[in-house]
């Protein structure tokens, strides 16, 4: 209340506009997302009622069960391992492609459309192609390299193979965001720099990288969250009987298994809560880092 008294009329005006502008989004998010989320939090403290019997409140039992469950810990490690492959590679490759396509290149719009194509492809087609590429007997990779590697069923390398698919499918997405970020850098910065005699690589590190840092941070942040909540890739490429599944399955996959497949919603809710808490910690760390690495004019 003290702060409100100190507000000047101008600040008050700004506060009213600000709240009015965020109101539709916030109301929507609360109704559509936070009300269900609160419901899930409540469920995580319950033993799910099955066969038509009601829920019973069990306190922290689901959590203590989850913390003692090695499957949950392994799935968290799997998820982090996946993120470590997908995020850096996906961001760097997409940034390079976006910078190339922002230069004076012939056929820019054709290249841009081609890089966009994987995003519109049917997931079934993507899964089929990659399964074939990785096939141990007849796959392209083993034929070219003259090896006999079980790319997606050897627990030691399956997580890398899955990560590669993740990188491949996210490049187009990151690139679209980078291009729009690049287009919002005023052209006169480059003009000034080229008058000063800066070359391409210099320009890249002295202008593009710092001025693009808000976009880069945005992509890294959203992709870290996206990678930590990865799910569909696992079931698309890995069969249920795959020996490497325990070493690849993500936390959301485990959550899905309990909530949907087995109908144990209470335990599934507890798993989601643990995952969300983990992502929140990562996000807070990243938000701290934002102040140091991101340049806003």
């Amino acid at each position: 209340m003290k702060e409100k008294k100190k507000m000047t009329p101008r600040e008050k005006n700004e506060a009213i506009w600000g709240l009015a502008f965020v109101a539709p989004t916030m109301i929507g998010l609360i109704v559509l997302n936070f009300y269900p989320a609160v419901n899930t939090v409540y469920q995580s403290f319950c033993k799910t009622g099955d066969f038509g019997k009601g829920n019973t409140f069990v306190g922290l039992a689901n959590y203590s069960k989850a913390f003692a469950d090695p499957e949950i810990w392994q799935s968290l490690i799997n998820t982090v391992k996946y993120a470590i492959i997908e995020v850096p590679l996906g961001v760097v490759i997409a940034l390079l492609l976006a910078v190339f396509l922002n230069g004076k290149i012939k056929g820019v719009s054709i290249f841009r459309t081609i890089f966009f194509l994987p995003m519109v492809c049917a997931p079934a087609a993507v899964a089929m192609v990659w399964k074939w590429l990785y096939n141990q007997q007849f796959g392209l990779f083993n034929n070219i390299l003259h090896t006999n590697i079980a790319w997606i069923s050897d627990p030691k390398i399956a997580w890398i193979s899955v990560g590669v698919i993740g990188v491949w499918s996210i490049i187009g997405y990151n690139m679209v965001l980078f291009i729009s970020g690049l287009k919002e850098i005023p052209g006169d910065y480059y003009e000034a720099a080229s008058i000063d005699g800066a070359t391409g690589i210099n320009q890249f590190f002295n202008i593009t990288v710092p001025l693009l840092s808000p976009t880069t941070f945005f992509i890294v942040q959203t992709r870290v969250i996206g990678a930590l909540t990865i799910f569909d890739l696992m079931f698309m490429v890995m069969d249920k009987t795959n020996a490497a599944l325990p070493k690849v399955q993500s936390t959301v996959y485990v959550f899905y298994k309990y909530t949907f497949d087995q109908g144990n919603k209470g335990y599934g809710a507890a798993i989601v809560m643990i995952l969300v808490a983990f992502i929140m910690v990562v996000t807070v760390i990243m938000q701290r880092a934002e102040k140091r690495f991101v340049f806003y004019n």
Binding site: K47, T48, D50, F51, G52, K53, D232, F235, M236, K240, Y253, Y256, K257, F260, D261, Q262, G263, N264, K265
Partner: protein, 235 residues
């Protein structure tokens, strides 16, 4: 607030003067369109949306007499199919009050794995929201599905009358939930020799019917069972 009203009335006055100053109706309309098109489009859109929402809210039947899923069949078992028509007639439901919904576009098999299967996700949404009253599918698949606790325990109070009539047809499954101590529980009713197969030909394999765990229309399901096992001679 007073300041605001002042500004509004001032704006209204000047705009009216401006518009009456323009000669020709089409030019007047042109002026209004030019300056206020966003507002006009917004208001028209808003009115349309509100009418739509109100109309939907008041005219749509949001309650079901019975909501059933016929999974893994390519036969015609949807709304307004012969099966649907006959059942509605048999039960004597008033369709202006509540709806009867037969969903025959659903393909999943719990025995073969359901992760990422959108049909299964839709089924879960219906079952866990309490919309689902009954599901019919192959006997083994349904018994396997029964382990998850999404089907009603047929020993429960609500099913006493069904148990009296069809208790000998019950199929049993061991719940995944370990609290039940691995004891078998009746989860579905074998309907392989019912008219669903013999007369309507919806399934060619042995099939069974399970009741949604959160269903509020167990009587309608019982009526459906009575309808299926009705003696053709009494018709």
């Amino acid at each position: 607030m007073a300041d605001r009203n002042d500004r509004l009335s001032k704006w209204w006055k000047t705009e009216r003067e401006k518009i009456s100053g323009i000669s020709g109706t089409s030019k007047k309309i042109g002026y209004i369109w030019e300056y206020y098109k966003l507002w006009i489009i917004g208001i028209v859109f808003g009115i349309w949306f509100v009418t739509f929402a109100v109309r939907q809210y008041t005219t749509t039947l949001r309650d079901y007499w019975c909501f059933m899923v016929f999974a893994n069949t390519y036969a015609d078992a949807g709304d307004h199919s012969p099966l649907w028509e006959d059942y509605v007639e048999y039960a004597g439901f008033d369709l202006t009050e509540k709806a009867v919904r037969f969903n025959a576009d659903s393909y999943f098999d719990y025995l073969k794995g359901v992760t990422g299967n959108s049909y299964f996700e839709a089924f879960v949404a219906y079952a866990d929201s309490g919309t689902l009253d009954a599901i019919v599918m192959g006997r083994d698949s349904l018994t396997a599905l029964g382990k998850t606790g999404r089907l009603l325990d047929l020993n429960s109070e609500e099913c006493s009358s069904i148990r009296a009539k069809y208790g000998d047809r019950f199929l049993y499954a061991v719940p995944l939930n370990e609290d039940y101590g691995g004891k078998e529980m009746p989860v579905c009713i074998d309907i392989s020799d019912s008219r669903l197969v013999s007369e309507y030909g919806i399934y060619s394999e042995p099939c069974a019917l399970g009741i949604g765990a959160l269903s509020g229309n167990v009587e309608s399901v019982e009526l459906f069972l009575d309808f299926l096992f009705e003696d053709p001679g009494t018709k």
